[in-house]
Amino acid sequence: MASPQLNPLALVSELTHRCPLHCVYCSNPLELAARATELPTEAWSSVFRQAAELGVLQTDFTGGEPLVRTDIVELVRRARAAGLYVSLITSGLPLDETKLDALLEAGLDHFQLSFQSATESVAEAISGTKTHAQKLRVLDWLQSRRVGVTLNFVLHRHNLHQMDEMIAIAESSSATRIEFANVQYYGWGFVNRALLLPTRVQLDEFLEKVKSAEERLRGKIRVEYVVPDYYAKFPKPCMGGWGRKVMLVAPNGDALPCHAAGVIPGMSFENVKESSLREIWESSEAFRKFRGESWMQEPCKTCDRRVQDFGGCRCQAMLLAGDAAATDPVCSLSHDRPKVDAILATVPSADLQNPQQQFLYRSNPS
């Protein structure tokens, strides 16, 4: 049930589903929001003000690609004026130096640039576009400007071996933070899972390297990573707990407890055009559905770890066990763990030949 003392700390502002890239692991839903349904500037402004009043400290501008919004500079300005810390989660295009300066002048706090790979060829195979050189240009521009910079590398079987090159890119830039984000199997990533899952051997090599990189770069670049959850012993504390810390507003104004919540049958989401953020946070059915512990089944119900991981991810429970209230099947204590092990048992050890011919590339909304 609702705990009135808890307020959201972060707002994920999914400004659009339009994107110049077609990444095969995109976490957006398969059904993308059309441009015509996108919230206008004033509606987002109101969302930012309401969020700050609710106690939200930070917002991530994401998408799709937030830079395709023609009002992106104004949106940064409005979010800062509301009192929020603003991060831009971006592929780095469409962007030039003039636009970058305008974003910084509007108060952008943090620029998170996503990379599909350390090399153009793998990046192109994954995103269906040639964007790697542009990303390196953006890093050059960022070097002479004062803003927080994170490089986000999305990891999978086709690039896990490139970690040294990825770190070299970060070390030659002004980044203070690297995120090694393993592909999460939702949305387009779920569809392409068989082509993306790494092998255990790849993963073990990665973990060994990342730990020594973390040590070596301490005080210079903060390295963050998590074990991809199909290979983990316990689930991730998804979204920091359902309806506990994070609120996501989709391009059309639907407010969701997480990106993938739409996969859970029977869920309906209230829209910021009709309800206030506070009403949605405190009393909407969607946000209350898996808040707290009363919805839990065994083994979560009596497990000591339930206060750490909140039962894991509800959407993953739906996708893998067919029951959104089940223990996240990646958990070694879950009755459904054999289903995850069966998926891992099908991961081929040899390199995949021409995965581009088999990938389902993310499409673009109308």
């Binding site: 700050a52 939200v56 930070q58 991060s87 706090d109 943090h110 927080g148 203070t176 005080g219």
Partner: protein, 92 residues
């Protein structure tokens, strides 16, 4: 990296002070730290003008009832934590 008493810490790019509901916070990429009492006194002095030694002296005056050695070691410990979070740049 050990912290040099003469170096002058400054908040790293992407890190700044913020406030919500009368609670001061240190905002950083993807996270925030609540600041109260001594931690607020320390972070507000991480402006590139105060050396670590000056911050220690200031807080030893502010918290004159506390053991000066303890104040110093607490400050160094907190600065190390912020350094690990990559929230500080140190200049000579």
């Amino acid at each position: 990296m050990p912290i040099d008493a003469q170096s002058k810490p400054r908040l790293a790019p992407g890190c700044r002070l913020g406030e919500n509901n009368n609670q001061r916070v240190l905002l950083m990429p993807e996270r925030a730290l609540r600041l109260n009492g001594p931690s607020l006194e320390i972070v507000t002095r991480c402006d590139g003008n105060h050396s670590v030694a000056q911050i220690v002296a200031d807080l030893q005056r502010l918290y004159s009832k506390a053991e000066p050695q303890k104040v110093e070691s607490d400050i160094i410990g907190y600065l190390e934590l912020l350094q690990k979070d990559r929230a500080l740049d140190f200049s000579a």
